[in-house]
Amino acid sequence: MTRRAFRWLTGFAAACVVGAGAVALPSCSAPPMVRHLTADQNSLTEVGRAMDLSELTLRLHDRYQITDPARWRAMATRAGQLSQSAGHLLMSRATAVAGSTSDAEQFYSHLDSDTAALRTQREALAADLTDAIPKPRP
């Protein structure tokens, strides 16, 4: 092997190493949020739905509270609680992803159950909301 060929091969090898590193680096150093992307997206979607339902409940409260004030008062309270839960989840997430990797991992370790709890809370309110809205007479 000539010296020229050796130098060329060495350069090529170095370029390969750098290229391989560039390809491998993102997967090695991917932040927790990316590694738990599905859970993260699910939780954000659930937060969005929770806030959506909370606002919808308060709008419907304006319209229907006269029909059953006590029931709609309880509904408005639960809308507030749902919004509160969603807000707390968002706050925890913000702190976690802005903190250390271990903080983020700890947050993501129970994110699925937190999301499920929020979903349960939302679905229960949605069911009662559907039940509380006066039905048109046949």
Binding site: R49, M51, A86, A98
Partner: protein
């Protein structure tokens, strides 16, 4: 414990040497973030895929928190972030919990909507702080913390108990909150005899004379006390009825609630000679608000009560009132048991009408409810804010005594120190 972000940690190694490579890299990344190449400044490009059916509020919140997804470690400590998060969480809970005691269904729902708006503002401000941490820009971080603290300021702070002196309370409304008042007082000229105690030439109601005399004697001045027994010719107060169209309104987060006012107030000349200074001698007002009623009565024991008018009848009515619920609802959490109020007033030329009004405009909480003497600065409640208050507060604060929780957020921390120092620096007397 909330601490200011350290300015240096990213640029220096632990042994104090400049970390050149890291500094250059950090500067480059900061530049990219600053100019939004990463889209991490809360703009539209930083928004995550919008959840199906989410509202603008949810999208805004998510976008705000998503914007802090990528951070540069070491800008703000984790304990700072967690401490702030706890404060924000507590504030959110407090806002929602305050709605529990409202009986009127419409007002209750309005309260929850307001709490949601406050939650949006708090979460967004917190996300802005985290984003500022990510950029490492000290000015941005300071600005973000300032915005957060404004939102976290105490909404009201009734002072508990006092041993002597004038009890006072501070009612602080948030940046987006205001009060408008329009109370018309009319008199048919009827007058009632009124007993006074005159301390060094100034008239006080008998209930307030003790503290007035104490204040004079405390200042080592000469003390001359006489009495002015009720006499319709010499000492009397004029009764004014509140006109039916009188209203009071409260605005928060762009939403306004209006209540009606009824009742009566009485005024007498405050000094021995008849000047343009008057003394409120009685006030019994009823405020109908959000389906319930509340009584607002004059605190006759307050020696600072006064109405001062200029030659054209313009002036201010300054008095301390006590609030109490007279309906089914308990007193709203935002309203202290008592508060010092300052209202702009105007008297007509015949003296038969007094208009206490903000003139169609809304006034901030500080304008309507300033505190004199400030109950936070006057930590020992002796009506004087001085070095003794500072010493007593610092002692209580250092030992974590609950009395040092001057912002009433349930924790004795740096925010209490800041609130106290802010009030004390402004109100302290030489």
């Amino acid at each position: 414990m909330l601490r200011w972000p350290r300015a240096r940690p990213r640029r220096y190694t632990r042994d104090g040497r400049l970390r050149r490579t890291h500094t250059m890299l950090t500067t480059f990344l900061q530049h990219l973030i600053k100019h939004r190449f990463f889209g991490h400044s809360g703009g539209p490009s930083s928004a995550p895929p919008s959840p199906q059916g989410s509202t603008r509020r949810a999208a805004t919140l998510i976008a705000a928190t998503f914007s802090v997804a990528v951070t540069l470690n070491g800008c703000c400590s984790s304990s700072d972030k967690k401490s702030l998060q706890e404060m924000v969480d507590r504030a959110i809970d407090r806002n929602f919990n305050a709605c529990d005691s409202i009986p009127d269904p419409v007002a209750h729902a309005t309260c929850i909507t307001n709490a949601q708006n406050q939650q949006t503002a708090l979460v967004t401000a917190y996300a802005a702080y985290l984003t500022a941490c990510a950029t490492g820009d000290t000015e941005l971080i300071k600005e973000a913390i300032k915005n957060l603290k404004d939102l976290l300021k105490p909404k009201n702070g009734a002072v508990l108990g006092a041993s002597g002196g004038v009890l006072n309370s501070e009612m602080v409304l948030g940046n987006d909150e205001s009060v408008c008042i329009s109370i018309l007082l009319t008199s048919d000229g009827s007058r009632t005899p009124q007993d006074f105690v005159v301390v060094n030439g100034s008239k006080y109601l008998p209930e307030a004379a003790g503290s007035a005399a104490l204040a004079v004697s405390g200042g080592n001045g000469s003390l001359i006390i006489t009495t002015a027994v009720g006499d319709l010719a010499a000492n009397s107060s004029t009764i004014y009825q509140v006109a039916p169209e009188s209203t009071i309104c409260f605005t928060a987060s762009g939403m306004s609630m209006t209540g009606s006012v009824s009742g009566s107030m009485s005024f007498a000349s405050a000094a021995g000679d008849f000047t343009s200074s008057y003394l409120p001698t009685d006030a019994k007002l009823t405020i109908a608000f959000a389906g319930s009623t509340y009584a607002m009565t004059l605190d006759k024991a307050c020696k600072y009560n006064a109405m001062a008018l200029d030659g054209n009848g313009h002036g201010t009515l300054t008095f301390r009132v006590n609030f109490a619920s007279t309906g089914d609802a308990v007193l709203p959490a935002r309203l202290p048991d008592g508060a010092w109020m300052v209202l702009p007033v105007q008297r007509n030329t015949t003296g038969t009408q007094i208009q206490a009004s903000t003139g169609g405009a809304s006034l901030s909480g500080w304008t309507v409810f300033p505190a004199l003497p400030n109950p936070i600065a006057d930590f020992d409640h002796n009506t004087v804010a001085n070095d003794a208050d500072l010493a007593m507060f610092l002692s209580a604060w250092a030992s974590g005594n609950p009395s040092a929780d001057v912002n009433h957020d349930g924790a004795v921390n740096a925010l209490d120190n800041e609130v106290f120092m802010d009030r004390w620096n402004y109100w302290r007397q030489p």
